[in-house]
Protein backbone atom coordinates (compact mmCIF):
# COMPACT_ATOMS: atom_id res chain seq x y z
CA UNK A 1 0.00 0.00 0.00
CA UNK A 2 2.82 2.35 0.94
CA UNK A 3 4.63 1.29 -2.24
CA UNK A 4 1.55 2.16 -4.31
CA UNK A 5 1.38 5.53 -2.64
CA UNK A 6 5.06 6.23 -3.26
CA UNK A 7 4.78 5.15 -6.90
CA UNK A 8 1.84 7.50 -7.40
CA UNK A 9 3.83 10.26 -5.79
CA UNK A 10 6.77 9.67 -8.13
CA UNK A 11 4.43 9.56 -11.14
CA UNK A 12 2.93 12.86 -10.12
CA UNK A 13 6.34 14.44 -9.69
CA UNK A 14 7.50 13.16 -13.10
CA UNK A 15 4.30 14.44 -14.66
CA UNK A 16 4.90 17.79 -13.02
CA UNK A 17 8.46 18.06 -14.29
CA UNK A 18 7.88 17.18 -17.95
CA UNK A 19 4.66 18.84 -18.98
CA UNK A 20 3.98 21.21 -21.86
CA UNK A 21 2.07 24.30 -20.72
CA UNK A 22 -0.99 25.00 -22.85
CA UNK A 23 -2.22 28.57 -22.49
CA UNK A 24 -5.83 29.47 -23.08
CA UNK A 25 -8.18 32.30 -22.30
CA UNK A 26 -11.72 32.05 -20.97
CA UNK A 27 -14.19 34.53 -19.48
CA UNK A 28 -12.14 34.79 -16.32
CA UNK A 29 -8.82 35.46 -18.05
CA UNK A 30 -5.70 33.46 -18.88
CA UNK A 31 -5.80 29.76 -17.96
CA UNK A 32 -2.84 27.38 -18.06
CA UNK A 33 -2.85 23.61 -18.08
CA UNK A 34 -0.06 21.09 -18.57
CA UNK A 35 -0.13 18.00 -20.71
CA UNK A 36 2.63 15.44 -20.89
CA UNK A 37 5.31 15.77 -23.52
CA UNK A 38 4.48 12.43 -25.12
CA UNK A 39 0.75 13.19 -25.23
CA UNK A 40 1.39 16.57 -26.81
CA UNK A 41 3.72 15.28 -29.53
CA UNK A 42 1.47 12.28 -30.32
CA UNK A 43 -1.74 14.31 -30.47
CA UNK A 44 -0.16 17.21 -32.32
CA UNK A 45 1.55 14.87 -34.80
CA UNK A 46 -1.76 13.14 -35.57
CA UNK A 47 -3.64 16.40 -35.91
CA UNK A 48 -0.98 17.89 -38.19
CA UNK A 49 -0.91 14.75 -40.36
CA UNK A 50 -4.70 14.69 -40.73
CA UNK A 51 -4.97 18.34 -41.64
CA UNK A 52 -1.94 18.13 -43.89
CA UNK A 53 -3.22 15.12 -45.85
CA UNK A 54 -6.63 16.69 -46.24
CA UNK A 55 -5.02 19.78 -47.77
CA UNK A 56 -2.29 18.37 -49.98
CA UNK A 57 -4.56 16.18 -52.13
CA UNK A 58 -6.91 18.90 -53.43
CA UNK A 59 -4.07 21.43 -53.68
CA UNK A 60 -2.02 19.01 -55.73
CA UNK A 61 -5.01 18.22 -57.94
CA UNK A 62 -5.68 21.91 -58.43
CA UNK A 63 -2.08 22.50 -59.42
CA UNK A 64 -1.91 19.49 -61.77
CA UNK A 65 -5.24 19.86 -63.51
CA UNK A 66 -4.88 23.60 -64.00
CA UNK A 67 -8.52 24.58 -63.58
CA UNK A 68 -7.59 28.20 -63.97
CA UNK A 69 -6.28 29.48 -67.28
CA UNK A 70 -4.47 32.56 -66.06
CA UNK A 71 -3.58 31.70 -62.49
CA UNK A 72 -1.07 29.34 -61.04
CA UNK A 73 -1.00 27.95 -57.52
CA UNK A 74 2.50 28.65 -56.24
CA UNK A 75 2.37 27.88 -52.56
CA UNK A 76 0.04 27.15 -49.72
CA UNK A 77 0.00 27.12 -45.95
CA UNK A 78 -1.69 24.66 -43.69
CA UNK A 79 -2.13 26.20 -40.26
CA UNK A 80 -3.37 24.32 -37.24
CA UNK A 81 -4.75 26.08 -34.22
CA UNK A 82 -5.57 24.09 -31.12
CA UNK A 83 -8.38 24.45 -28.68
CA UNK A 84 -8.56 22.54 -25.45
CA UNK A 85 -11.27 21.85 -22.95
CA UNK A 86 -10.24 21.67 -19.34
CA UNK A 87 -11.93 19.48 -16.75
CA UNK A 88 -11.31 19.01 -13.04
CA UNK A 89 -8.39 16.66 -13.60
CA UNK A 90 -6.78 18.50 -16.46
CA UNK A 91 -7.09 18.75 -20.22
CA UNK A 92 -9.98 16.60 -21.40
CA UNK A 93 -9.80 17.31 -25.11
CA UNK A 94 -7.48 18.93 -27.61
CA UNK A 95 -9.18 19.84 -30.87
CA UNK A 96 -7.63 21.14 -34.08
CA UNK A 97 -8.75 24.22 -35.97
CA UNK A 98 -7.33 23.98 -39.47
CA UNK A 99 -6.70 26.99 -41.65
CA UNK A 100 -5.56 26.78 -45.22
CA UNK A 101 -4.22 29.56 -47.41
CA UNK A 102 -3.62 29.22 -51.12
CA UNK A 103 -1.48 31.69 -53.05
CA UNK A 104 -2.02 32.11 -56.77
CA UNK A 105 -0.06 34.22 -59.18
CA UNK A 106 -0.90 35.42 -62.65
CA UNK A 107 0.81 33.13 -65.16
CA UNK A 108 2.32 35.88 -67.29
CA UNK A 109 4.43 37.03 -64.32
CA UNK A 110 6.57 34.00 -64.79
CA UNK A 111 7.82 35.12 -68.17
CA UNK A 112 8.23 38.77 -67.25
Amino acid sequence: MCRLFLMSLVLCCVSCMSGIPIIGIDEEGVKNIKITKSKYSKKMGEVLADVHDAAIVPANRLALEGHLDHWELRWFNVGVGIEGKVGIIGMVSLAARPRIRLYFRRKYNRES
Binding site: M1, L4, F5, S8, L9, C12, C13, S15, C16, M17, S18, G19, I20, P21, I22, I23, G24, I25, V30, N32, I33, K34, K37, Y40, S41, K42, K43, M44, G45, E46, L48, A49, D50, H52, D53, I56, V57, A59, N60, A63, L64, L73, R74, W75, F76, N77, V78, G79, V80, G81, I82, E83, G84, I88, I89, G90, L94, R97, R99, Y103
Partner: protein, 446 residues
Protein backbone atom coordinates in the same frame (compact mmCIF):
# COMPACT_ATOMS: atom_id res chain seq x y z
CA UNK B 1 -8.48 -2.86 11.41
CA UNK B 2 -10.31 -3.26 8.08
CA UNK B 3 -12.08 0.03 8.66
CA UNK B 4 -8.78 1.74 9.39
CA UNK B 5 -7.29 0.19 6.22
CA UNK B 6 -10.13 1.62 4.09
CA UNK B 7 -9.69 5.10 5.57
CA UNK B 8 -5.95 4.92 4.98
CA UNK B 9 -6.43 3.84 1.34
CA UNK B 10 -9.02 6.55 0.77
CA UNK B 11 -6.79 9.23 2.26
CA UNK B 12 -3.90 8.01 0.08
CA UNK B 13 -6.09 8.28 -2.99
CA UNK B 14 -7.13 11.80 -2.04
CA UNK B 15 -3.50 12.82 -1.51
CA UNK B 16 -2.54 11.37 -4.90
CA UNK B 17 -5.41 13.21 -6.62
CA UNK B 18 -4.43 16.39 -4.83
CA UNK B 19 -0.80 15.99 -5.89
CA UNK B 20 -1.92 15.28 -9.44
CA UNK B 21 -4.02 18.44 -9.51
CA UNK B 22 -1.13 20.40 -8.04
CA UNK B 23 1.21 19.03 -10.68
CA UNK B 24 -1.17 20.33 -13.36
CA UNK B 25 -0.84 23.84 -12.02
CA UNK B 26 2.90 23.83 -11.26
CA UNK B 27 4.75 25.97 -13.75
CA UNK B 28 8.27 27.20 -14.00
CA UNK B 29 8.26 30.88 -14.76
CA UNK B 30 10.70 32.89 -16.80
CA UNK B 31 12.88 35.27 -14.70
CA UNK B 32 10.70 38.21 -13.78
CA UNK B 33 13.16 40.81 -15.05
CA UNK B 34 12.83 39.34 -18.57
CA UNK B 35 9.23 40.45 -18.95
CA UNK B 36 8.10 42.50 -15.94
CA UNK B 37 9.27 46.00 -16.83
CA UNK B 38 10.07 48.96 -14.64
CA UNK B 39 7.74 51.79 -15.54
CA UNK B 40 9.53 54.46 -13.51
CA UNK B 41 13.01 55.69 -14.52
CA UNK B 42 13.98 55.61 -10.83
CA UNK B 43 13.38 51.89 -10.70
CA UNK B 44 15.65 51.24 -13.65
CA UNK B 45 18.91 50.45 -11.95
CA UNK B 46 21.77 48.42 -13.32
CA UNK B 47 20.66 45.91 -15.93
CA UNK B 48 21.83 42.69 -14.36
CA UNK B 49 21.30 39.52 -16.30
CA UNK B 50 19.07 37.17 -14.34
CA UNK B 51 19.67 33.53 -15.09
CA UNK B 52 16.60 31.33 -15.51
CA UNK B 53 15.99 28.45 -13.12
CA UNK B 54 16.90 24.88 -14.07
CA UNK B 55 13.18 24.04 -14.03
CA UNK B 56 12.48 26.73 -16.60
CA UNK B 57 15.36 25.48 -18.76
CA UNK B 58 13.82 22.03 -18.63
CA UNK B 59 10.36 23.30 -19.46
CA UNK B 60 11.69 25.18 -22.50
CA UNK B 61 13.67 22.09 -23.60
CA UNK B 62 10.53 19.98 -23.21
CA UNK B 63 8.51 22.34 -25.37
CA UNK B 64 11.10 22.37 -28.16
CA UNK B 65 11.52 18.58 -27.96
CA UNK B 66 7.78 17.96 -28.01
CA UNK B 67 7.40 20.25 -31.02
CA UNK B 68 10.22 18.46 -32.85
CA UNK B 69 8.71 15.07 -32.00
CA UNK B 70 5.29 16.14 -33.24
CA UNK B 71 6.78 17.28 -36.58
CA UNK B 72 8.51 13.90 -36.90
CA UNK B 73 5.21 12.23 -36.04
CA UNK B 74 3.54 14.24 -38.79
CA UNK B 75 5.91 12.76 -41.36
CA UNK B 76 5.31 9.25 -40.05
CA UNK B 77 1.53 9.53 -39.78
CA UNK B 78 0.97 11.33 -43.05
CA UNK B 79 0.41 9.39 -46.25
CA UNK B 80 2.43 11.99 -48.14
CA UNK B 81 4.87 13.28 -45.55
CA UNK B 82 7.76 11.01 -46.43
CA UNK B 83 7.70 11.81 -50.11
CA UNK B 84 10.60 14.12 -50.82
CA UNK B 85 8.71 15.95 -53.47
CA UNK B 86 5.12 15.60 -54.57
CA UNK B 87 4.74 16.63 -58.20
CA UNK B 88 6.98 19.60 -57.67
CA UNK B 89 5.57 20.44 -54.24
CA UNK B 90 7.76 20.39 -51.20
CA UNK B 91 6.97 20.68 -47.50
CA UNK B 92 9.67 23.16 -46.68
CA UNK B 93 9.10 24.89 -43.34
CA UNK B 94 7.08 24.54 -40.17
CA UNK B 95 6.47 27.66 -38.16
CA UNK B 96 5.19 27.46 -34.61
CA UNK B 97 4.44 30.05 -32.03
CA UNK B 98 4.60 30.17 -28.27
CA UNK B 99 3.06 32.68 -25.92
CA UNK B 100 4.10 34.14 -22.60
CA UNK B 101 1.55 34.83 -19.89
CA UNK B 102 1.67 37.80 -17.55
CA UNK B 103 3.01 35.38 -14.89
CA UNK B 104 5.99 34.41 -17.02
CA UNK B 105 4.71 30.99 -18.13
CA UNK B 106 5.78 30.09 -21.65
CA UNK B 107 3.55 27.68 -23.53
CA UNK B 108 1.56 26.73 -26.57
CA UNK B 109 -1.34 29.08 -27.18
CA UNK B 110 -4.70 27.31 -27.47
CA UNK B 111 -6.84 30.16 -28.57
CA UNK B 112 -9.36 30.64 -31.32
CA UNK B 113 -7.77 32.44 -34.24
CA UNK B 114 -4.16 31.65 -33.35
CA UNK B 115 -2.04 29.06 -35.09
CA UNK B 116 0.04 26.64 -33.02
CA UNK B 117 1.83 25.27 -36.09
CA UNK B 118 1.88 26.24 -39.73
CA UNK B 119 3.14 24.02 -42.54
CA UNK B 120 4.40 25.69 -45.69
CA UNK B 121 4.29 23.94 -49.01
CA UNK B 122 6.11 25.55 -51.90
CA UNK B 123 6.22 24.75 -55.56
CA UNK B 124 9.82 23.57 -55.72
CA UNK B 125 10.78 25.89 -58.58
CA UNK B 126 9.59 28.98 -56.68
CA UNK B 127 10.97 28.28 -53.21
CA UNK B 128 13.48 31.17 -53.24
CA UNK B 129 11.02 33.69 -54.61
CA UNK B 130 8.26 32.72 -52.22
CA UNK B 131 10.44 32.60 -49.14
CA UNK B 132 11.68 36.11 -49.88
CA UNK B 133 8.09 37.34 -49.98
CA UNK B 134 6.62 35.13 -47.32
CA UNK B 135 6.36 37.79 -44.68
CA UNK B 136 4.83 40.14 -47.20
CA UNK B 137 2.10 37.71 -48.14
CA UNK B 138 1.47 36.05 -44.80
CA UNK B 139 -1.70 37.89 -43.86
CA UNK B 140 -5.44 37.66 -43.98
CA UNK B 141 -5.61 41.26 -45.11
CA UNK B 142 -5.94 42.43 -48.71
CA UNK B 143 -2.53 43.76 -49.57
CA UNK B 144 -0.65 45.81 -52.11
CA UNK B 145 2.95 46.89 -52.46
CA UNK B 146 3.78 50.49 -53.26
CA UNK B 147 7.17 52.02 -53.86
CA UNK B 148 8.58 55.50 -53.74
CA UNK B 149 9.19 55.69 -57.47
CA UNK B 150 5.51 55.14 -58.34
CA UNK B 151 3.58 58.11 -59.71
CA UNK B 152 0.48 59.46 -57.95
CA UNK B 153 -1.65 58.08 -60.78
CA UNK B 154 -0.22 54.58 -60.39
CA UNK B 155 -0.79 54.66 -56.63
CA UNK B 156 -4.34 56.01 -56.97
CA UNK B 157 -5.18 53.27 -59.47
CA UNK B 158 -4.06 50.61 -56.98
CA UNK B 159 -6.06 52.21 -54.17
CA UNK B 160 -9.16 52.48 -56.38
CA UNK B 161 -8.93 48.76 -57.19
CA UNK B 162 -8.68 47.93 -53.48
CA UNK B 163 -11.75 50.07 -52.72
CA UNK B 164 -13.65 48.44 -55.62
CA UNK B 165 -12.89 44.97 -54.32
CA UNK B 166 -13.89 45.87 -50.77
CA UNK B 167 -17.15 47.42 -51.97
CA UNK B 168 -17.74 44.34 -54.14
CA UNK B 169 -17.74 42.09 -51.07
CA UNK B 170 -20.71 44.04 -49.67
CA UNK B 171 -18.86 44.69 -46.42
CA UNK B 172 -18.25 48.38 -47.14
CA UNK B 173 -21.25 50.66 -47.71
CA UNK B 174 -19.45 53.82 -48.82
CA UNK B 175 -16.72 53.07 -51.34
CA UNK B 176 -15.92 56.79 -51.75
CA UNK B 177 -15.34 57.27 -48.02
CA UNK B 178 -13.05 54.27 -47.92
CA UNK B 179 -11.04 55.48 -50.92
CA UNK B 180 -10.68 58.91 -49.32
CA UNK B 181 -9.41 57.29 -46.13
CA UNK B 182 -6.91 55.18 -48.06
CA UNK B 183 -5.63 58.13 -50.09
CA UNK B 184 -5.30 60.29 -46.99
CA UNK B 185 -3.20 57.70 -45.13
CA UNK B 186 -1.07 56.95 -48.18
CA UNK B 187 -0.35 60.63 -48.91
CA UNK B 188 0.67 61.30 -45.32
CA UNK B 189 2.94 58.27 -45.33
CA UNK B 190 4.53 59.26 -48.60
CA UNK B 191 5.43 62.68 -47.21
CA UNK B 192 6.98 61.04 -44.16
CA UNK B 193 9.02 58.66 -46.27
CA UNK B 194 10.48 61.49 -48.34
CA UNK B 195 12.13 62.76 -45.16
CA UNK B 196 13.97 59.48 -44.48
CA UNK B 197 17.72 60.12 -44.59
CA UNK B 198 20.44 57.82 -45.81
CA UNK B 199 21.19 55.43 -42.97
CA UNK B 200 23.43 53.06 -44.89
CA UNK B 201 26.45 53.90 -42.68
CA UNK B 202 24.57 52.85 -39.55
CA UNK B 203 24.15 49.26 -38.36
CA UNK B 204 20.59 49.02 -39.75
CA UNK B 205 18.48 50.68 -42.45
CA UNK B 206 14.78 51.13 -43.00
CA UNK B 207 13.64 49.20 -46.07
CA UNK B 208 9.86 48.88 -45.69
CA UNK B 209 6.98 50.68 -44.06
CA UNK B 210 3.75 48.80 -43.52
CA UNK B 211 0.35 50.41 -43.08
CA UNK B 212 -2.43 48.23 -41.79
CA UNK B 213 -5.78 49.91 -42.02
CA UNK B 214 -9.05 48.49 -40.73
CA UNK B 215 -12.26 49.79 -42.27
CA UNK B 216 -15.65 49.51 -40.61
CA UNK B 217 -18.85 48.81 -42.51
CA UNK B 218 -19.45 52.53 -43.14
CA UNK B 219 -16.14 52.84 -44.99
CA UNK B 220 -14.48 54.77 -42.17
CA UNK B 221 -10.93 53.81 -41.11
CA UNK B 222 -10.91 52.44 -37.54
CA UNK B 223 -8.12 52.26 -34.99
CA UNK B 224 -8.98 48.74 -33.77
CA UNK B 225 -10.68 45.65 -35.09
CA UNK B 226 -14.29 45.25 -34.04
CA UNK B 227 -16.35 42.10 -33.77
CA UNK B 228 -18.12 43.07 -37.00
CA UNK B 229 -17.13 42.33 -40.58
CA UNK B 230 -14.15 44.65 -40.82
CA UNK B 231 -12.07 44.90 -43.94
CA UNK B 232 -8.33 44.80 -43.36
CA UNK B 233 -6.02 46.40 -45.87
CA UNK B 234 -2.24 46.06 -45.77
CA UNK B 235 -0.11 48.47 -47.76
CA UNK B 236 3.64 47.97 -47.92
CA UNK B 237 5.88 50.79 -48.99
CA UNK B 238 9.23 49.52 -50.23
CA UNK B 239 11.98 52.07 -50.14
CA UNK B 240 13.72 52.14 -53.48
CA UNK B 241 17.49 51.91 -52.92
CA UNK B 242 18.27 54.86 -55.18
CA UNK B 243 15.97 57.05 -53.08
CA UNK B 244 18.11 56.36 -50.03
CA UNK B 245 21.22 57.54 -51.79
CA UNK B 246 19.97 61.03 -52.49
CA UNK B 247 21.48 62.35 -49.29
CA UNK B 248 25.26 62.28 -48.90
CA UNK B 249 26.58 59.12 -47.30
CA UNK B 250 28.42 60.85 -44.45
CA UNK B 251 25.85 61.77 -41.78
CA UNK B 252 25.97 65.28 -40.38
CA UNK B 253 25.86 66.10 -36.70
CA UNK B 254 22.08 66.74 -36.70
CA UNK B 255 21.49 63.27 -38.01
CA UNK B 256 23.71 61.71 -35.39
CA UNK B 257 21.79 63.39 -32.59
CA UNK B 258 18.34 62.22 -33.66
CA UNK B 259 15.53 64.47 -32.57
CA UNK B 260 12.47 63.76 -30.52
CA UNK B 261 9.41 64.27 -32.59
CA UNK B 262 10.22 63.75 -36.23
CA UNK B 263 9.83 60.62 -38.30
CA UNK B 264 13.31 60.95 -39.79
CA UNK B 265 14.78 61.41 -36.31
CA UNK B 266 13.09 58.26 -35.09
CA UNK B 267 14.26 56.20 -38.07
CA UNK B 268 17.82 57.46 -37.56
CA UNK B 269 17.74 56.71 -33.84
CA UNK B 270 16.72 53.10 -34.41
CA UNK B 271 19.20 52.60 -37.23
CA UNK B 272 21.91 53.55 -34.71
CA UNK B 273 20.63 52.07 -31.45
CA UNK B 274 20.04 48.61 -32.82
CA UNK B 275 23.82 48.44 -33.22
CA UNK B 276 23.63 46.76 -29.80
CA UNK B 277 22.57 43.67 -31.71
CA UNK B 278 25.68 43.76 -33.88
CA UNK B 279 28.19 44.28 -31.07
CA UNK B 280 28.31 40.68 -29.94
CA UNK B 281 27.61 38.79 -33.10
CA UNK B 282 27.48 36.03 -34.12
CA UNK B 283 24.86 33.94 -32.29
CA UNK B 284 26.78 30.67 -32.24
CA UNK B 285 28.11 29.40 -35.54
CA UNK B 286 25.11 29.87 -37.79
CA UNK B 287 22.73 32.48 -36.46
CA UNK B 288 22.80 36.17 -37.30
CA UNK B 289 20.51 39.09 -36.52
CA UNK B 290 18.43 39.52 -39.64
CA UNK B 291 16.44 42.63 -38.85
CA UNK B 292 13.80 44.09 -36.62
CA UNK B 293 10.35 45.61 -36.80
CA UNK B 294 8.94 48.50 -34.78
CA UNK B 295 5.41 49.87 -34.62
CA UNK B 296 5.27 53.64 -34.61
CA UNK B 297 2.40 56.11 -34.33
CA UNK B 298 1.66 59.81 -34.56
CA UNK B 299 -0.43 61.76 -32.05
CA UNK B 300 -3.13 64.23 -33.05
CA UNK B 301 -0.58 66.96 -32.29
CA UNK B 302 1.87 65.52 -34.81
CA UNK B 303 4.37 63.91 -32.41
CA UNK B 304 5.89 60.71 -33.72
CA UNK B 305 7.05 57.84 -31.53
CA UNK B 306 7.12 54.13 -30.81
CA UNK B 307 3.55 52.88 -30.40
CA UNK B 308 2.71 50.85 -27.35
CA UNK B 309 -0.34 49.33 -28.98
CA UNK B 310 -1.55 46.79 -31.46
CA UNK B 311 -4.47 47.03 -33.85
CA UNK B 312 -4.18 49.38 -36.80
CA UNK B 313 -2.67 52.25 -34.86
CA UNK B 314 0.27 53.73 -36.68
CA UNK B 315 2.46 51.72 -38.95
CA UNK B 316 5.21 49.13 -38.82
CA UNK B 317 8.80 49.92 -39.78
CA UNK B 318 11.08 47.16 -41.10
CA UNK B 319 14.83 47.48 -40.69
CA UNK B 320 17.50 45.21 -42.09
CA UNK B 321 21.15 44.88 -41.23
CA UNK B 322 23.49 46.89 -43.42
CA UNK B 323 26.31 45.14 -45.18
CA UNK B 324 29.09 47.15 -43.67
CA UNK B 325 31.96 46.19 -41.42
CA UNK B 326 31.27 45.94 -37.74
CA UNK B 327 33.97 48.50 -37.02
CA UNK B 328 32.28 51.04 -39.29
CA UNK B 329 28.83 50.50 -37.88
CA UNK B 330 30.15 50.60 -34.32
CA UNK B 331 31.87 53.93 -35.02
CA UNK B 332 28.55 55.74 -35.45
CA UNK B 333 26.95 53.64 -32.75
CA UNK B 334 29.54 54.82 -30.23
CA UNK B 335 29.38 58.40 -31.42
CA UNK B 336 25.64 58.59 -30.79
CA UNK B 337 25.79 57.06 -27.34
CA UNK B 338 23.54 58.94 -24.95
CA UNK B 339 22.35 61.49 -27.48
CA UNK B 340 18.76 62.72 -27.45
CA UNK B 341 15.54 60.88 -26.74
CA UNK B 342 12.64 59.41 -28.62
CA UNK B 343 8.94 59.19 -27.83
CA UNK B 344 6.83 56.34 -26.59
CA UNK B 345 3.14 56.79 -27.44
CA UNK B 346 0.69 54.87 -25.31
CA UNK B 347 -2.95 54.30 -26.10
CA UNK B 348 -4.58 54.11 -22.71
CA UNK B 349 -8.06 53.01 -23.71
CA UNK B 350 -7.03 50.21 -25.97
CA UNK B 351 -7.69 47.44 -23.48
CA UNK B 352 -11.13 48.67 -22.54
CA UNK B 353 -12.01 48.93 -26.21
CA UNK B 354 -10.78 45.39 -26.81
CA UNK B 355 -12.71 44.05 -23.84
CA UNK B 356 -15.91 45.60 -25.04
CA UNK B 357 -15.52 44.28 -28.53
CA UNK B 358 -16.27 40.81 -27.22
CA UNK B 359 -19.65 41.75 -25.89
CA UNK B 360 -21.11 43.71 -28.76
CA UNK B 361 -20.22 45.21 -32.08
CA UNK B 362 -18.73 48.63 -31.59
CA UNK B 363 -19.84 51.44 -33.83
CA UNK B 364 -17.34 53.23 -36.06
CA UNK B 365 -17.89 56.42 -34.09
CA UNK B 366 -17.21 54.73 -30.77
CA UNK B 367 -13.94 53.32 -32.04
CA UNK B 368 -12.78 56.63 -33.46
CA UNK B 369 -13.62 58.55 -30.26
CA UNK B 370 -11.92 55.92 -28.14
CA UNK B 371 -8.75 56.35 -30.20
CA UNK B 372 -8.79 60.15 -30.22
CA UNK B 373 -9.03 60.46 -26.46
CA UNK B 374 -6.45 57.94 -25.46
CA UNK B 375 -2.85 58.75 -26.40
CA UNK B 376 -0.08 59.95 -24.08
CA UNK B 377 3.57 60.63 -24.90
CA UNK B 378 6.63 59.77 -22.78
CA UNK B 379 10.21 60.63 -23.60
CA UNK B 380 12.55 57.63 -23.65
CA UNK B 381 16.22 57.96 -22.79
CA UNK B 382 18.15 56.31 -25.61
CA UNK B 383 21.03 55.16 -23.43
CA UNK B 384 18.57 53.30 -21.19
CA UNK B 385 16.88 51.90 -24.26
CA UNK B 386 20.24 50.54 -25.43
CA UNK B 387 20.71 48.78 -22.08
CA UNK B 388 17.26 47.31 -22.51
CA UNK B 389 18.23 46.07 -25.94
CA UNK B 390 21.23 44.25 -24.48
CA UNK B 391 18.83 42.33 -22.28
CA UNK B 392 16.59 41.63 -25.26
CA UNK B 393 19.58 40.28 -27.15
CA UNK B 394 20.47 37.99 -24.25
CA UNK B 395 16.90 36.65 -24.18
CA UNK B 396 17.09 35.90 -27.91
CA UNK B 397 20.43 34.15 -27.39
CA UNK B 398 18.91 32.05 -24.63
CA UNK B 399 16.09 30.74 -26.82
CA UNK B 400 18.38 30.09 -29.79
CA UNK B 401 20.72 28.17 -27.49
CA UNK B 402 17.91 26.01 -26.08
CA UNK B 403 16.28 25.36 -29.45
CA UNK B 404 19.61 24.36 -30.98
CA UNK B 405 20.06 21.65 -28.37
CA UNK B 406 17.16 19.66 -29.74
CA UNK B 407 18.47 17.03 -32.12
CA UNK B 408 15.97 16.10 -34.74
CA UNK B 409 16.18 13.72 -37.66
CA UNK B 410 14.05 15.66 -40.11
CA UNK B 411 14.03 19.29 -39.05
CA UNK B 412 16.52 21.97 -38.14
CA UNK B 413 16.05 25.33 -36.46
CA UNK B 414 15.97 28.08 -39.07
CA UNK B 415 14.68 31.27 -37.50
CA UNK B 416 13.52 32.62 -34.15
CA UNK B 417 11.52 35.79 -33.65
CA UNK B 418 10.91 37.30 -30.27
CA UNK B 419 8.46 40.10 -29.52
CA UNK B 420 9.40 42.75 -27.01
CA UNK B 421 7.66 45.60 -25.32
CA UNK B 422 9.06 48.94 -24.26
CA UNK B 423 8.46 50.44 -20.80
CA UNK B 424 8.02 54.09 -19.90
CA UNK B 425 11.50 53.97 -18.41
CA UNK B 426 13.06 52.77 -21.67
CA UNK B 427 13.53 49.19 -20.54
CA UNK B 428 12.80 46.33 -22.92
CA UNK B 429 11.29 42.96 -22.07
CA UNK B 430 9.46 39.99 -23.57
CA UNK B 431 5.92 40.85 -24.56
CA UNK B 432 3.20 38.86 -22.82
CA UNK B 433 -0.27 37.84 -23.90
CA UNK B 434 -2.61 40.62 -22.98
CA UNK B 435 0.09 42.72 -24.63
CA UNK B 436 0.86 41.60 -28.13
CA UNK B 437 3.73 39.22 -27.89
CA UNK B 438 4.86 35.84 -28.95
CA UNK B 439 7.89 33.73 -29.70
CA UNK B 440 7.95 32.28 -33.22
CA UNK B 441 10.17 29.40 -34.18
CA UNK B 442 10.75 28.13 -37.68
CA UNK B 443 12.07 24.70 -38.54
CA UNK B 444 13.25 23.83 -42.04
CA UNK B 445 13.15 20.31 -43.42
CA UNK B 446 16.60 18.75 -43.66
Amino acid sequence: MGHFHKIFTLSNCLIVILLYLMSRTAYSAMPKSWYDLEESPKQLGSVRWEKPSKDFDKEVDDIFEAQGDSYDALLQESNYGNLKSLNGWELSVIRSQLALTADGVLGVLALKGTVAAELRWFKKSYIKEMEANYDLLSTDAAHATLSMDMSDTEINNILAKIADKAAGTGRIRDRGLMLEGLQDRVNKTKQMLFSVPDTSVFPFSLYRLRLEIIFGASGRALPFMTAGGDVRIRLDWDLVPSRNNIIASKPDSDLLAATNDSFDGLVTAFSQDMGVLVKREPFGSKFRVKGFQIRIAQTAGGRVGVANASGSLGCMLFFKKNRISRAKSMHYFDETEGKAHFNLIRFENQQSAEKEQDSYILSDDYMTKSYQSSSSVTSIDRSKFRKGLEKAENIARYFIGRAKRVKNRNWELREIRTDYQLSLAGSVGMATIGGFGELRIEYAKI
